[in-house]
């Protein structure tokens, strides 16, 4: 009967498209084109959230405003004090860098964005932001909120982009402990509670509960020295070769709406001298987010010096 043939034809077509989409990237162009149609749907779906925030803004009592104002003023004061300290540190840092003849530290600009939707796929952690190719977003661009790194753009559409959060289990981010520079790879944890797991950390590594993990920039995808997570538990199982270390991301993944996209400086992208680890090389076009996340991790083996990291890099290659 013709119905069965039609079913078979469409099933074959779907399988073909799936294969093409997972292996090659020429379907990205079609996806990009059709996204002009899907953007309005997301725009309409976001109306309730926008309306509620508008209502929040419109119906605030004056007393609340005064209170909030005072609070913000105080926060600003604290922040400015820290900024003053930071200026001193920055100049000291650049002097030290000059002494070492190392590359200039990069202070990327940021553009702001808003989270307009959350992936309803329960097994993956992705959010949609309201900035896309027309706003200069590129694949692999780092996203952060006011508290820490959130993730990277994995699918750039005309006016929106999908962001893979660092808590997704297929995402790994190279980090180092702020206290002593111990390096590790933080992978999103499986399960319902969003968190990070430090992978392949030897039992002897000096990482304790409360340690701040910052991005190490070694993956050449995330900018260096942004706070990522705080260690919440360290467990040494005598039967296991590696310590089980869990960390809580600092970015407020499920509370914040406002995020920032890090814009790398142009001169850093263009003028790349050999032998210098740059904070921001031009991102290679990669279609598979998983491959890119792993790829981002891989270069660490080139720059590691300590013995601990050799075993780590070896295991990482098997992933």
């Amino acid at each position: 009967m013709s119905l069965e043939y039609r079913l078979l034809a469409f099933l074959a077509l779907a399988l073909g498209i799936m294969f093409a989409d997972s292996r090659f990237d020429y379907l990205d162009r079609a996806r990009f084109g059709v996204a002009y149609l899907s953007t309005p749907v997301y725009w309409v779906a976001d109306i309730p959230a926008r309306a509620s925030s508008w209502i929040d803004d419109a119906f605030v009592s004056q007393r609340d405003l005064i209170e909030e104002n005072a609070q913000l003023r105080q926060q600003l004061l604290f922040a400015q004090r820290e900024l003053q300290l930071l200026a001193g540190l920055a100049s000291e840092n650049s002097r030290l860098r000059e002494l070492q003849e190392a590359s200039q530290a990069v202070q990327g600009r940021v553009i702001t964005a808003e989270i307009i939707n959350v992936s309803n796929d329960l097994g993956s952690r992705r959010v949609l932001i309201n900035r896309g190719a027309h706003n200069g977003v590129f694949e692999g661009q780092a996203i952060l909120d006011a508290h820490g790194l959130m993730g990277q753009a994995v699918e750039v559409l005309p006016f929106t982009s999908w962001v893979l959060l660092i808590t997704d289990s297929r995402h790994g981010i190279p980090v180092q402990v702020n206290r002593n520079g111990e390096r590790a790879i933080a992978r999103g944890s499986r399960g319902d509670v969003p968190g990070l797991v430090l992978e392949y950390v030897p039992d002897t590594a000096d990482i304790v509960v409360g340690d701040l993990l910052v991005s190490s920039g070694l993956g050449q995808r995330y900018p260096k020295d942004y706070p990522v997570a705080q260690v919440t538990s360290v467990y040494h199982d005598p039967g296991q070769p590696f310590a089980l270390i869990r960390a809580r991301p600092l970015a407020q993944m499920d509370r914040t709406r406002h995020v920032m996209l890090v814009v790398p400086d142009d001169d850093v992208i263009g003028g790349g001298s050999i032998g210098v680890i740059q904070d921001f090389p031009a991102p290679a076009p990669v279609s598979n987010p998983e491959a890119s996340a792993i790829e981002a991790v891989a270069p660490e083996s080139d720059v590691t010096q300590s013995n601990d990291d050799d075993s780590q890099a070896g295991v990482q290659g098997d992933l």
Partner: protein
């Protein structure tokens, strides 16, 4: 073929509405219970207008869903084509069913849809193999079906969709 086409924009509009409901952000605890709106609306139109909405339409509806969700292209297209085929071959019986029996069918069809997409996602490592809580979506779909059915039937009769 069937009668002269009329009011097909209602079909498209109802599908757009279903897409909206499918992506509207929900609190975390409610995520598991989100009914499969697009699949249900498709099943209704295939049941009501089998000569107009078929496997091809379901396939394209699924493709748009893939683009909307940012998932692997062809994922929803495949499972929608499959449930469209099942609905098409059963549509005469489905029309005769009582509301409860129809809900049972929806439970099976939507459950199949969810399971297929889940399998493919796990196979292509798009998602983690986790708990089977996602099947609750089929249960909530079966629960809202009688109301959705009445609503869409009113639409179809009101606008004389053929």
């Amino acid at each position: 073929m069937g009668p002269r086409a009329n009011g097909l924009w209602i079909v498209i509009l109802s599908l757009l509405l279903a897409y909206l409901l499918a992506i509207v952000p929900l609190p975390d605890w409610a995520m598991h219970y989100r009914p499969q709106w697009v699949a249900m609306v498709l099943i209704y139109w295939i049941m009501a207008l089998p000569y107009r909405v078929g496997i091809g339409a379901a396939w394209f509806a699924g493709l748009f869903m893939d683009i909307l969700e940012g998932s692997l292209l062809g994922l929803n297209a495949l499972s929608f084509a499959l449930i469209a085929y099942i609905t098409l071959s059963l549509h005469q019986r489905l029309r005769m069913f009582s509301a409860l029996q129809q809900s049972g069918m929806i439970l099976a069809l939507v459950g199949l849809n969810i399971t297929i997409t889940y399998w493919i996602k796990v196979a292509t490592e798009q998602t983690d193999a986790g708990s089977l809580l996602f099947l609750l979506g089929a249960l909530s779909s079966a629960f809202v079906w009688p109301w959705l059915f009445v609503f869409l039937r009113q639409l179809r009769r009101g606008f004389d969709v053929r």
